[in-house]
Symmetry: D2
Subunit: 325 residues, 4 copies
């Protein structure tokens, strides 16, 4: 039982997430403790194709645990989507003697990992995506940090919101997922949350704002997931046309949510994922993603991850409703 590798590669791919560096560090240090050499591949799958990698030792990952972003850089790679690109990657891995690969990233990156697995490369995936839209794991790397960044921002809005009669639309990231918006809405006590998963008309939004106004609230904070339709700017214009008592203002946090020093939670999750990724490889649990289930880190087949959509957390939608009274 268990595979004996001499050298493995690690790369980060797709949108970056706070904690990726902590994960790289854990991969390097736990591989190093088993005398496995680690190649750090730069710029995601592009770096694999172009042969851009360097050996990483314990010292190379010193003092990166607390840094946002990823020291290995990341990029989206068109080339890799074609079979020719993937064969090229394989050739480069063979040249370097890279026998297995740890892929840290989101859905697209895990898809890439799966394609390599189909070519016979032993891979382990690590879920990293601030959107928490990856199937099979309670949490992905970066979610907790992004959520706290949003919460800090909305707390600031609340200070000023209490001094005026204003309605604030705050747009959060998440692509097609409303996870961040819902969680942020609950923990900041927002008056309303708008997510792609739940259709809401402009009239309903305006009505809710007006109700807040009539009940004498000093302000009305609405968290809008970026995937919600209509887009935030259009929504703001539309509800401002309807009379609701408040003046509407928009904040679009954007990529700020991807940055910042990772929280304690993300550093711990990333460190555990990194250690487990190496353990999975060595134990022959191949083509798996490290997944958080309760307190445990378990292997979930990447094939399952990429072929399933993460269900919406209905309980949180209900929770938002009860608490925002």
């Amino acid at each position: 039982m268990g595979q004996k590798y001499k050298s493995i590669g690690v790369l980060t791919s797709g949108g970056d997430a706070p904690g990726m560096n902590a994960c790289i560090r854990a991969v390097v240090r736990s591989a190093s403790a088993m005398n496995i050499k680690v190649w750090g591949v730069e710029g995601g799958f592009t770096g694999l194709i172009r042969g851009k990698y360097k050996e990483m030792g314990n010292r190379d990952v010193g003092n990166i645990l607390q840094r946002g972003g990823t020291i290995l850089q990341t990029a989206r790679c068109e080339e890799f989507r074609a079979p020719a690109g993937r064969r090229e990657a394989l050739r480069e891995m063979n040249n370097a003697g890279m026998e297995a690969l740890v892929v840290i990233g989101g859905d697209g990156s895990l898809n890439g990992a799966q394609k390599l697995a189909e070519l016979g490369v032993p891979v382990v995936g690590v879920p990293a995506s601030i959107d928490n839209d990856i199937y099979g794991t309670d949490m992905a790397i970066g979610v907790d940090t992004a959520l706290n960044t949003i919460v800090d921002a909305i707390d600031k809005l609340r200070d000023t919101a209490s001094s005026h009669t204003r309605a604030f639309l705050v747009e959060t990231m998440g692509h097609a997922s409303g996870y961040l918006a819902i969680q942020a809405g609950i923990v900041t006590g927002a008056e309303m949350v708008l997510v792609p998963e739940v259709a809401t008309s402009v009239e309903d939004v305006a009505a809710r704002v007006e109700e807040a106004y009539r009940r004498g609230k000093a302000h009305c904070i609405i968290v809008v997931a970026e995937g919600f339709s209509p887009p935030t700017n259009e929504l703001a214009e539309a509800i401002d046309k309807l009379d609701h008592g408040f003046t509407t203002r928009v904040s679009i946090l954007g990529h700020i949510q991807r940055g910042g020093s990772p929280t304690a939670f993300d550093r711990m999750l990333a460190s555990r994922f990194g250690m487990k990724a190496v353990e999975f490889l060595v134990d022959g649990k191949l083509n798996m993603m490290t997944a958080l289930r309760g307190r445990e880190i378990v292997p979930v087949p990447i094939a399952d991850v990429v072929s399933n959509a993460r269900p919406v957390a209905e309980e949180y939608i209900e929770m938002a409703r009860v608490l925002s009274l």
Copy 2:
């Protein structure tokens, strides 16, 4: 020498700014130390007209020093712009025995204070505006906090920016003033700053972005003051149409910049302004604004403040140019 007041009022008006509470506290406590009663007027000039005020003692301003926003609320007041509104305010002040008034706010608020002064009310103004667009004082209350909020946001962008080849437009507040944008641009090492005071064509912006790309920069951060034309969203679309190597992303911080616990600097400035405001009243330095000049707090006639525009700091525009190499 100096006037003996039995009771004075204090109000906050216009856009709120972090540190207003620290200023209210200092007004109350230093007046209290001279046995002057303080009326806290709620909701700015509107509260004055409607007779909404309450006596404030030392204990009422306990534990507010660190809070963003203003416990006295603020509002913009149409009614007060008309002579009838101002006469009403005067009548209410007389009813309450409010002999003088401290007005904490921005340009519009100081204008209001000036109108009251013209009716014979002894007033002292305190400059509070995150935009730092008030003539006659080095700094207004709230600027330092807002600047640090922007800096935190851009630092986060830089983390993620280093992981991708992206151009980021970050919109900062400031109405017609580019102060916050320029300062933020310098202290975050932004590649470019766009302000209303300096016309820049879309082509020039795109050229600068392209140059950053050609020089191999991993990213390009552009700070855009909200008063810049074209508006940030339009600008983003326009430069994305021109080929420059990067993908463009937008962050609009919005009212987040108005909130948050005030920095040490803003608490100190607000506390000093508050104490000086009472001192000016007592010393008969009337219809003055407390102004920071170097290390000193000096009186500047409100009439001068409202009839002059704050000049652009040319030195900082040059500084941004040299350091962003």
Copy 3:
């Protein structure tokens, strides 16, 4: 099935923890949604004995979600340890028509809840303690915030540590528990962690410091749990007497770890606990503590909680060893 209450009480007791306010809010709002009146008891069990409580509606818990500390105050109560004190508390509850009680606090507070339960009062406990030393739940309210406060502090030390050849001892809270110290040590990449659960001699500490020096490290950060023996100040003196290349400096964070706005995690956990506490009461799951197990909130008998000690997490001690290479 399920009990119908007209009114219940809620109190916070023992050492305060960030998130207690979010929990109070959730208790009030979910009770309110079921038309149950909530009495907020002030100052823990002391307030119960003295009859200090007030009705709390949805508005009374507005804008407290993000506040550290507890608006209900907390106190340690000698009187309540005696049967006479508890009988007095019971009499006051009857006077107020308080039919059940939610107790938010640590081990000692849950013990108090258990004593009330033995007198026939329906109680539900909510674990709140930054030390995470409560049996039966993965996490208690306040732990995540405290951990992030410690992490911020150690990250700052690391900045300056890299500029000097210094050894830093950082003392964290935790009474007899090393939980915070171990977690903080792992997620900040500390060179060593000293906890009450693992005896370590002064000589071993000095040897580890010396080894770090010999390996050319620019610094050496040691996290010391407050329960470790010898106490941090003595330890610092002792290792400074042994020659190890570095100069030793001490930081004692103290009660700073109890404060601050709760993190997203703590707000969510506290909100869920608060809602579940009311649900448990209504469903007749009495004398239970709300406990986090994986993703679920489950009832655990308070009697079990107070009669068991939380075991040390061996896996994290091992993890600290591997990653701090």
Copy 4:
């Protein structure tokens, strides 16, 4: 007019301060804009003696603006205190063709700069010290950041302080200076500030604590400068022996105050100082320290700086008294 240098050196020395990196960056970039080569000397004067320096270009100082600590490292250097050590430094400078030197640091470092100046080396000093104990400049690099770090910590204490009847002693850095303690005390609304410059007996402290207790305050926060006598731990024991109603707890922030990302103020001050340092050299304003006076950066002879003590700011001591009522 002015000197034409081909190459200059820059070093950081003594205790590090947030903003040193921003200053190094500004020195390099403004020298570079004048085609002057810059040598970055590592480890302060020790690096000068040992010949440890490297050429630094614009790219070498990219992405350091926001970092705490100093990329050039710093050290205290015994060797340099002897004439032989300084001659050695001079020889190394000549070897490298280093024609002038920018020294960034505190009193001790400026003293070193002065000694070099006496050997004929053109030097400019930049004041950097979180203690703000340097004569001749309103502010030194790092003070604003350290102050905000202290303020964050005390704000956290206040949360928990309001939940208990506790007296907190918070020890701040500052060597023989009480500057940080006084400023922090004012802007956090501390009940008392203890500084080396004002003798206060243990009995007086206990009396003040007792008075706070009698007036019904929920807590009592005392900021203690590290230079105060008796030391904080002894003081805590001593006042706990005197009956005053509160339980006393101690926080010792220590070197945490030296770290962290610099505030906007410190980045700006450091950037301006760095640019001016090069300008002073080029303009022949030699053996000067860059000093902030009001809004201006002016040259002050280093000889004056090192032979004068910074006076205590009496006005702030009075201000602390009035506002903490």
